[in-house]
């Protein structure tokens, strides 16, 4: 410890150079800064998340990649490497029908939620001036997302039915004389339910992107003579690409992965990829279900990576 460097001051001690010989601080024991390199700390922090996702997501995915090549019959499944499951899917006409139906819904819902989501986000960010009111309105939009999707879906049934609230209102206001049939158990109701459920997923990311836009850019565009529409298309929309992309990913993957809404709201007339899949799973036909699942995963992966190529989401979110 202090072999020699003990300096004492008694009386009038100090010369100007005394401080140089002053007592050295002894090692205080605990080093207050972490001794670990920064990246190790980050890895330790991210480890639980990575571990859980690897075990509960990555591993199962590779599992049904494997199972998709298996053989099966009424009694069980047998490890094998066959392409038969895939062949059957690609040659089946119902496959085309189901995929076509799902993709059709996905596209329609995407367009509508994008339109609604963008306009509402724009309204909240650019037109609502009071911060407190904006937060309240935003909460009003967001809160339903955190309630049960099942309830919200079936809530449409008494609303849109022949004797439902909407029809009764229309007739009561003398807009129609007979109840409208197409409202429920049709493509219309499916789309309505999807839009109802998933528009918040658009509003959130787009609002987030819009709020980050530098106001001075918009003013500069105005000063340069751009009309409001031109400002919108040339400044606002390009700058909110990330939000649009993220919202689109969320909405499209939700629609493509749905099995409940389409069944309920179409009255069984339409099917979705996943609802067909769930039928196979219930019938214990795991290998073809797995093959179906893999194809869906591949399609979703292609869609998502296309969207992420347009916009580097990681840079935007993590920053």
């Amino acid at each position: 410890m202090t072999g020699g460097a003990r300096e004492t001051h008694i009386g009038h001690g100090a010369n100007v150079d005394a401080p140089a010989k002053l007592h050295e601080m002894p090692e205080a024991g605990v080093d207050r800064r972490s001794r670990l390199p920064a990246w190790v700390v980050s890895w330790l922090q991210i480890l639980p998340l990575t571990a859980i996702l690897l075990v509960m997501f990555a591993l199962p995915t590779t599992l049904f990649l494997a199972v998709s090549f298996f053989d099966y019959d009424r009694t069980g499944i047998y490890p094998a490497f066959m392409l038969d499951n895939y062949r059957e899917i690609f040659t089946s006409s119902s496959t085309l029908r189901v995929y076509g139906s799902t993709l059709k819904f996905t596209l329609i819902v995407w367009v509508i939620t994008l339109f609604l989501g963008f306009n509402i986000a724009h309204f909240l960010i650019f037109h609502v001036l009071n911060g407190k009111i904006r937060i309240v309105l935003f909460l009003l939009c967001a809160v339903p997302f955190f309630t049960s999707a099942i309830i919200r879906t079936i809530a449409w049934i008494p609303f849109l039915g022949r004797t439902g609230a909407f029809n009764q209102a229309l007739m009561g206001l003398h807009i129609t004389t007979r109840p409208l049939d197409f409202l429920l158990f049709s493509d219309f109701s499916v789309v309505v339910a999807y839009v109802h459920l998933y528009t918040p997923l658009m509003i959130g990311p787009i609002a987030n992107s819009l709020s980050k836009i530098d106001r001075s850019l918009i003013e500069a565009a105005r000063d340069a003579g751009a009309s409001r529409w031109q400002t919108m298309t040339n400044v606002v929309v390009p700058l909110s690409k990330t939000g649009i992309a993220l919202g689109s990913i969320l909405v499209m993957t939700q629609v493509m992965g749905d099995f409940f809404v389409v069944r309920q709201m179409s009255g069984g007339q339409s099917a979705s990829i996943v609802s067909a899949l769930s039928t196979e799973i219930q019938a214990m036909q795991h290998p073809p279900a797995a093959a179906n699942a893999m194809i869906l995963v591949v399609i979703v992966a292609i869609m998502v990576s296309c969207l992420m190529r347009v916009v580097d989401i990681r840079k935007e979110l993590v920053k």
Partner: protein
């Protein structure tokens, strides 16, 4: 980048787009809440009423029916299971997401891969996740159960949400406080416990709430991984096919009320915290 919101120039009147968008917003609100209001109203249907209007003898009959242990479903038990599972999922999500959010503050090898893993887990069709986990458990001869397979499946949904939310929360955290704490002699663990977490607490509460409600309402990932004992959404799902009574509406009202209650409590706590930091609460 700091968020900027427009300030009103007193000379400008509101442009016509304000009214157009405002009307759209109003319609959206009606669209969003309309069906829910219909369900709440129909919950008070009389004992002899049907599943649509008109309301015949408003009563609490169907609320009472919810509590009765029926042949098809046992609501109170399923409810308690849902609450228990959601609590665990929420707690785990918060702890793991906070750690993850802190991890991403600096670049580290493999950060990109982890990010894509998270996004993949988020966009993966829910039923497929459950399917995969169910298969896995089957292969290893394990029984799917509430706090193993179901919890794991739900975490693949709540963790990505939590992590993305934590990115936003942590980005608003100024490192100067952390440095100040370090200069004041705090060890890294003390910095997290006494400075980072307390300052970020409102955001963390938000993550906890989202994780809780997402788990509480989750059905697609849970249905193939739950084993024999249902959570509330799955009980509701089972009831739908056999539903010929407004009991389902009453159930929907109740479960939504629980969600609203939790959201309300969390908002209240967050508001209180912010007020306290602005010194408005102390006398």
């Amino acid at each position: 980048m700091a968020e900027q919101y427009p300030t009103q120039n007193p000379i400008d009147a509101r442009p016509w787009t304000f009214y157009a968008l405002g009307a759209l917003f109003l319609l959206y609100m009606l669209f969003l809440y309309g069906p829910m209001v219909v369900i709440y109203t129909l919950s008070f249907q009389g004992p002899n009423g049907g599943v649509t209007f008109p309301i015949v003898d408003p009563s609490l009959e169907w609320f009472r029916e919810v509590w009765r242990k029926g042949q098809m479903a046992d609501i109170p038990v399923a409810f308690s299971r849902s609450m228990a599972l959601a609590s665990v999922a929420s707690l785990l999500t918060v702890v793991i997401s906070v750690a993850g959010g802190l991890a991403f503050r600096r670049p580290f090898p493999g950060a990109g891969l982890v990010f894509y893993l998270v996004v993949a887990s988020l966009v993966m069709p829910s039923l497929l996740v459950g399917f995969g986990i169910g298969l896995g458990f089957q292969f290893f001869g394990l029984q799917p159960d509430l706090f193993t397979s179901a919890l794991g499946a739900q975490l693949t949904w709540t963790l990505p949400f939590g992590l993305l939310a934590m990115f936003a929360v942590v980005n608003r955290f100024d490192r100067c406080w952390e440095e100040a704490a370090a200069d004041l002699g705090a060890t890294p663990f003390q910095r997290v416990r006494h400075v980072i977490v307390p300052i970020l607490l409102p955001g963390i509460l938000g993550v906890a709430l989202s994780a809780f409600t997402l788990s509480y309402d989750e059905y697609a990932r849970t249905t193939l991984t739950i084993g024999a004992r249902n959570t509330l959404p799955l009980e509701i799902y089972a009831l739908i096919s056999s539903a010929t009574t407004p009991m389902l509406f009453a159930l929907g009202t109740l479960t939504t009320a629980v969600s609203f209650l939790l959201i309300g409590i969390t908002l209240f706590l967050v508001l209180r915290m912010q007020q306290r930091r602005q010194g408005k609460l102390r006398s």
